[in-house]
Subunit: 205 residues, 2 copies
Amino acid sequence: MLRTNLQFLSFIETFCRETTDSKILLKTFKPGHRFVRQGENITNIYMIKDGITKCFISEENGKDFIVAFLGKGEVIGELEALQKIECLCNVETISEVTVYAIPDYVFAELIAKNPAFTKFLLQELSTRIIQTSTRASFQQLYTLEYGLSKLLKLQDEAQIIISKEDMAAYLGISIRSFNRTLKSLLDKRKLSKDHKNTGILQPRK
Amino acid sequence: MLRTNLQFLSFIETFCRETTDSKILLKTFKPGHRFVRQGENITNIYMIKDGITKCFISEENGKDFIVAFLGKGEVIGELEALQKIECLCNVETISEVTVYAIPDYVFAELIAKNPAFTKFLLQELSTRIIQTSTRASFQQLYTLEYGLSKLLKLQDEAQIIISKEDMAAYLGISIRSFNRTLKSLLDKRKLSKDHKNTGILQPRK
DNA sequence: CTCTATAAAGGACATTTGTCCGCCACATGA
DNA sequence: TCATGTGGCGGACAAATGTCCTTTATAGAG
């Protein structure tokens, strides 16, 4: 659920170290900062060096859908650069986040001249398709309870803390449904002592 | 909704024509033939030369989710080749279909040695991510009625005929819900004469 | 033309999910 | 300590969707 790509990150870090005047900059954002806005144009591609972000689509009916949580080594803005289109998603930091900002012409050059880079990019894109399709299918065809329990497990394994609001947006449901389903899950487990108070869940803000 | 990529197709056709011993074969399948099976390994990448296919995930609970309808110039099996994994989806022909079968080692070689090919591939993958994410968001956050009317319009524009069963699987709903929503849509339009009998809808088989 | 077999459509009820709103816990300041 | 404001949770009802099964439409045989 929290995507990462450590190999790609270390590739970029090596590239920066070994290239004089790479034009790639480091930037840091505070938690809760929206550094990419849906509908706007961007001239950088970002790679996350550290921290967690959420990437989400805001629909015209006012609802948000979280496409993915992105962590170390994940790339932002590459679709927009490849297709020369405006941003599809908003991207907002959850924790404090440091990114490499790669100007789009440098990105284009890397694709043209650096087969290793291109290979990483192909890997990254194909992984995304797989995850997006698999998840769409899963969320459409299984019950919410099943989806939520899977999400909780993933969150537990990844050792990250996502607000209820964000989890609901990830599942594409209202907070009310989220709470209801969560309660019925916890009731079934009868793990009041073990889980209810161990902080899998976090109040918003 | 019906995806195509005519430029990519003509690139491959040119490549076949100009390359002696390209190792790429033409194959034809009858309607309703499942030529890629989820969970199996494939050693070819297919590009559709002509016809329409559906690409769908069968979940363990017996339900199917149609990931996409693929037409001319669309590629099948590239994710599996890039990641060296077994097939994610089933692919079944809807009409009679002709494909180019590209052995995986030829595919790998094209990526390694043919930047134009790689560029097409990057375009194709990024388009897929965009479409998959956008659609997942849309289907999660809007009402079925809205989604269905959009689907009918798309189908009408693409001039293709998809069975009700397939449309329901595309929308991730039961046929019962599909019929119900369709009826309420048609009632609202009061276009009984214009639409009900003009063959937007097709009985299964 | 009628009978029958089969597929598609729709009715009825159960379950799931969304919306609206009130209640409660907690924090803050007096 | 108590009053008060705020955010989060859950009750109640409405709307949407799934399941099951009956009804209707269609095609083919006699």
